[in-house]
């Protein structure tokens, strides 16, 4: 029963989106209501499934041999699917308002809804092959979203996105093949499936392949040096940038790496090897690199995109610690960063939508004109910096705690990188806040007379995110407790 429901939850948005494109929809409102209902229905279904707890694997198709398309819900899927299911309806509301004046609305919502289903597919995949399949599919359905505006810039960006993603998948594919050959199965089993008898003396080659696969999936998670697609993909409409390029797509990369590391290769095999050092070094470099680029960048969305790059590597850093505590830190940051970053992106999107201003130096004095938006932005900025009492601090706390418990020098260097990055985060986020609230004395408010605050459809989701950020910040115990269970493989 739950197997059919899982398949239904994945297929509902994918198939349900087809009418959006098939019909002409004279009445825009009707289409919007349809989309929202569709998304909410899928979310409710997912919610129901997740509340039922872990499920048995459900095999849909058998490709060849033991290669099957299989779904199941375990702890990790619960976290990812739950996150997606909560965020999507709100983001959809926001995008109604945002897409009001944009052309090609239908095709936007078509792919937007489809992506939901595909992401759920990644979340609920029961084995590596299924995940790989949805992972590739995700690339395809999101490319049209990047291309949405059809400017030359957008097309170049979508091409780059496509090449990077497919290229990454090609390397991830190698990892998949190795699991097929050297694993006892391709299912996700906490602790890994490698068959050490089959591996024999080929440890080093497997480690090399792990690094390949890590980098391959890491392309989507914008791991340095494979990150340049992400800032460029910021040409997409803001709901896309916010939801996909800060949450769904990039976190799919991180999620895939978690699966690969903890559920396929297994930390037993990887821990303490040179492969761990290599991937950890990469993540540490990315953490610092992303932040420094963000500080230099003056385009608002691109600045946030670089920030995303850095924050994603927080997650990957947690994962690369190869301990349950590290995974928990990564999961926590995955969840909290999703809310924080989508909130800040939506704020920036609201500014761009209302005023058409894109650069940091153009938003002087907006704090007074758009109080709601900038209040939310300030909260998300503080949370991203990791001020205690906000969600960001909690996740950093667990990440750093996990890193220090390992006692490895490299992990401690990672903690230092986290802190350097926190400082840089403060620099790139707070300069925006300070500009908005404290314009220079000679600033003339008449110049931004016509600027209005965001409309309810836009700021209501923001309000929700802010409440969540604060709530997670001060009362995180239930959720971190659950994540701890998940990370220890006990759920």
């Amino acid at each position: 029963m739950s197997g059919i429901l899982m398949l239904g939850a994945i297929l509902l948005p994918i198939l349900g989106s087809i009418p959006i494109f098939l019909f002409k929809w004279q009445n825009r409102k009707a289409m919007r209501i349809y989309v929202e209902l569709l998304v909410c229905a899928a979310s409710l279904l997912v919610g129901y499934l997740l509340l039922r707890g872990p499920s048995a694997p459900f095999t849909v198709v058998t490709f060849t041999g033991n290669l099957t398309v299989e779904f199941k819900i375990d702890g990790l899927s619960t976290v990812f699917a739950g996150m997606i299911a909560v965020l999507w309806p709100f983001a959809t509301l926001y995008s109604f308002e945002y897409m009001r004046n944009e052309p090609r609305e239908r095709s936007f919502f078509l792919f937007y809804t489809m992506t939901y289903g595909v992401t759920l597919g990644i979340a609920m995949s029961g084995n590596l092959l299924t995940m790989y399949f949805f992972y590739e599919l995700l690339t395809l359905v999101t490319v049209p979203l990047v291309m949405q505006t059809l400017t030359r810039e957008a097309i170049l960006a979508s091409r780059k996105y496509l090449y990077y993603s497919l290229g990454g998948a090609a390397f991830a594919f190698i990892g998949l093949v190795f699991i097929i050959v050297y694993g006892s199965s391709i299912d996700f089993v906490y602790g890994g499936v490698l068959d050490l008898v089959k591996v024999g003396s080929r440890t080093n080659i497997l480690l090399l392949i792990y690094v390949f696969a890590f980098c391959g999936f890491g392309v989507k998670a914008a791991l340095c040096p494979f990150n340049s697609w992400l800032p460029q993909a910021g040409v997409a409409p803001t709901p896309v940038t916010a939801l996909l390029h800060a949450v769904a797509v990039v976190k799919s990369g991180a999620f895939a790496i978690m699966r690969l590391t903890y559920y396929s290769y297994g930390t037993e095999f990887l821990k303490g090897t040179w492969a761990q050092d290599v991937v950890m070094t990469l993540t540490i470099i990315t953490i610092v690199y992303g932040c420094s680029r963000a500080v230099k960048e003056t385009h608002l969305k691109r600045r946030l995109a670089y920030s995303t790059i850095s924050n994603l590597s927080y997650i990957l850093f947690g994962v690369s610690l190869m301990t349950p505590a590290g995974l928990m830190g990564g999961l926590t940051h995955m969840l909290f960063h999703a809310f924080i970053k989508i909130c800040s992106f939506f704020c920036v999107g609201a500014v761009m939508h209302e005023t058409g201003r894109n650069y940091v130096h153009e938003i002087d004095g907006f704090g007074r004109k758009m109080p709601k938006v900038f209040a939310c932005f300030t909260v998300s900025a503080l949370a991203l910096m990791g001020v205690p009492g906000m969600a960001g601090f909690i996740s950093k706390w667990y990440l750093a705690g996990a890193a220090i418990s390992t006692g490895e020098p490299l992990a401690c260097a990672g903690v230092a990188a986290l802190l350097i990055s926190a400082l840089l985060t403060a620099i790139y986020m707070l300069t925006i806040v300070v500009r908005a609230y404290f314009p220079p004395r000679e600033f003339d408010y008449a110049a931004i007379e016509q600027v209005r605050d965001a409309k309810p459809l836009m700021w209501l989701p923001l309000l929700f995110f802010v409440i969540v950020i604060l709530l997670f910040g001060v009362a995180s115990r239930p959720i971190t407790g659950f994540l701890g269970e998940v990370a220890a493989g006990r759920y």
């Binding site: 490709f63 060849t64 590739e136 979508s158 091409r159 090449y163 594919f173």
Partner: protein, 496 residues
């Protein structure tokens, strides 16, 4: 049921007669005869496939009642029958897809010749697949070459004639080497039938005599067939030949003709030389290296290309590289992957060429990229089909390309020495494939005000049928590959 044993020979002869008869017919009649012929062929081969699969062993059909080792033989196993069936199917779909273009572009009084050549081509392909005699194989290789040459230059422009000449020259070099090789082999073993040669070669190899001549012979035949099947660096004739001929010619040439030679090579490896002997000569390593090089350089050339047809042609070079890499792996798994890729690439490439015709047709016949912008909106079906073909080539799950990639990679993993280069090149080549195919897909899906008129499916029913069926074939290979794999394994088992 015993009557089925006659079917392979009947199939070959039927083609030959149909070709001869067609030369006296009007174009339309020739066309119908050709299509009917292919359908009959499919039925015959299907029966053969069924028969061999059920009996579980290959059978030999003795031509002219001369027994081995003197007579001429046909041998049919599962793999041969499967490939023959597949060849017929893809050929029919390619011809259907390109039919409109043929009628528009080929002179009225030469159209019937096209079908004559197509019949002969099919005949030679079937013969190559089924024959058990090396010299017969050589003869049909030449027939194949001549018919293919005709198919290339059926549209008589300077380009096509030049392409035909270049194709002929390279082919002749290849067949010359092949002929030399098999003459020497005959000299060494005294036989022409594959089974008998294999026995003698095994004896020679065991005794250690004639080591160098044997290697030279194998080398000559391998290089000859490699030239003919456009293995890098012998691919110079490919872009012109595929790029300027008609769509159905290009589809047939790239997806079937070159595969015929490769299949012959595989047969030589298994049935003439013997897998172990071949493996010991180290020629596998050479094939492996050239395969890898082809995967990279074919794709690189494709990326640079500004002509969509030539781009697809270069992509063929890369894909042939995949197949040779699989053969060069020197393992059973690699061979299975290579043979599966023969199927998968044939399905995808035929689809691409046919869909490409639809796309260019909606862009005023231009093959330049700048004219193709937005073509997928003007010809929705062809656009979708082209996308499907591209995704298959890039190796996305659900499509056939993914399974071949998977099989190649699995084969590579099991081969210690060649694992890393194979895997890395596989990944890099995937990226390169993605670059040029996805670039094209994005371009045809970029809307633009265009002077060219759109084409709906009503104006191109045959193309629609062809595209849809080929797409289904791709998806079928991608989703339900298990049965294909089983048949290939079974067929390879019958080789030995």
């Amino acid at each position: 049921m015993e009557i089925i044993r006659n079917f392979p020979a009947a199939a070959i002869l039927l083609c030959l007669f149909a070709g001869i008869v067609s030369s006296g017919l009007k174009p339309k009649a020739a066309k119908w005869l050709n299509h009917a012929l292919i359908v009959v062929e499919m039925a015959l081969n299907l029966c053969t496939l069924y028969y061999t699969a059920v009996t579980g062993e290959a059978f030999v059909y003795v031509m002219g009642k001369f027994p081995a080792p003197w007579g001429n033989e046909i041998r049919a196993g599962v793999l041969e029958a499967l490939l023959a069936l597949f060849v017929c199917g893809v050929m029919l779909l390619s011809l259907l897809g390109g039919e409109k273009e043929l009628e528009e572009k080929v002179e009225e009084n030469k159209l019937f010749l096209y079908y004559v050549l197509a019949d002969h081509l099919l005949c030679s392909l079937l013969a190559l697949i089924y024959t058990n005699d090396l010299f017969t194989a050589y003869v049909f290789v030449e027939i194949n070459t001549i018919s293919a040459c005709g198919l290339i230059m059926i549209r008589q422009t300077g380009r096509t004639i030049e392409a035909a000449v270049r194709y002929m020259i390279m082919s002749l070099l290849g067949s010359g080497l092949l002929l030399m090789g098999l003459c020497m082999l005959y000299d060494l073993t005294g036989h022409l039938l594959m089974s008998n040669i294999q026995e003698s070669v095994a004896r020679l190899h065991a005794s250690g005599m004639y080591g160098v001549p044997l290697t030279v012979t194998i080398g000559l035949m391998t290089v000859g067939l490699a030239i003919k099947s456009a293995l890098f660096p012998f691919h110079t004739w490919v872009p012109d030949a595929y790029g300027y001929s008609t769509a159905s010619s290009a589809a047939i040439l790239s997806s079937l003709v070159s595969k015929g030679y490769i299949f012959l090579l595989i047969k030589i490896i298994y049935r003439v030389i013997g897998f172990e002997v071949f493996h010991d000569t180290k020629i596998v390593n050479v094939l492996f290296l050239f395969g890898l090089a082809g995967m990279i350089f074919g794709s690189l050339s494709a990326i640079k290309e500004n002509n969509i047809r030539r781009m697809i042609a270069f992509s063929s070079v890369a894909q042939i590289g995949y197949i040779y890499m699989g053969i060069g792996m020197g393992t059973q798994a690699g061979m299975v992957a290579a043979i599966f890729h023969i199927f998968s690439h044939a399905a995808a490439k035929a689809l691409l060429f046919v869909a490409c015709m639809g796309i260019t047709g909606a862009s005023g016949g231009s093959v330049k990229f700048q004219d193709l912008t937005g073509a997928a909106y003007r010809n929705k079906l062809a656009g979708a089909a082209f996308t499907a073909g591209s995704l298959s080539m890039v190796g996305l799950p659900l499509f056939s390309g993914f399974i071949s990639k998977l099989l190649f990679a699995q084969a590579a993993v099991q081969n210690q020495g060649k694992m890393l280069p194979a895997l890395v090149v596989l990944a890099v080549s995937t990226i390169l494939n993605a670059v040029y195919f996805m670039k094209t897909v994005i371009r045809i899906y970029t809307p633009e005000q265009s002077p060219y008129e759109g084409i709906t499916w009503k104006n191109q029913k045959l193309l629609t049928v062809s595209c849809v069926l080929l797409t289904v074939l791709n998806l079928h290979l991608g989703c339900l590959s298990q049965s294909w794999e089983n048949l290939i394994m079974k067929g390879l088992g019958m080789f030995a």
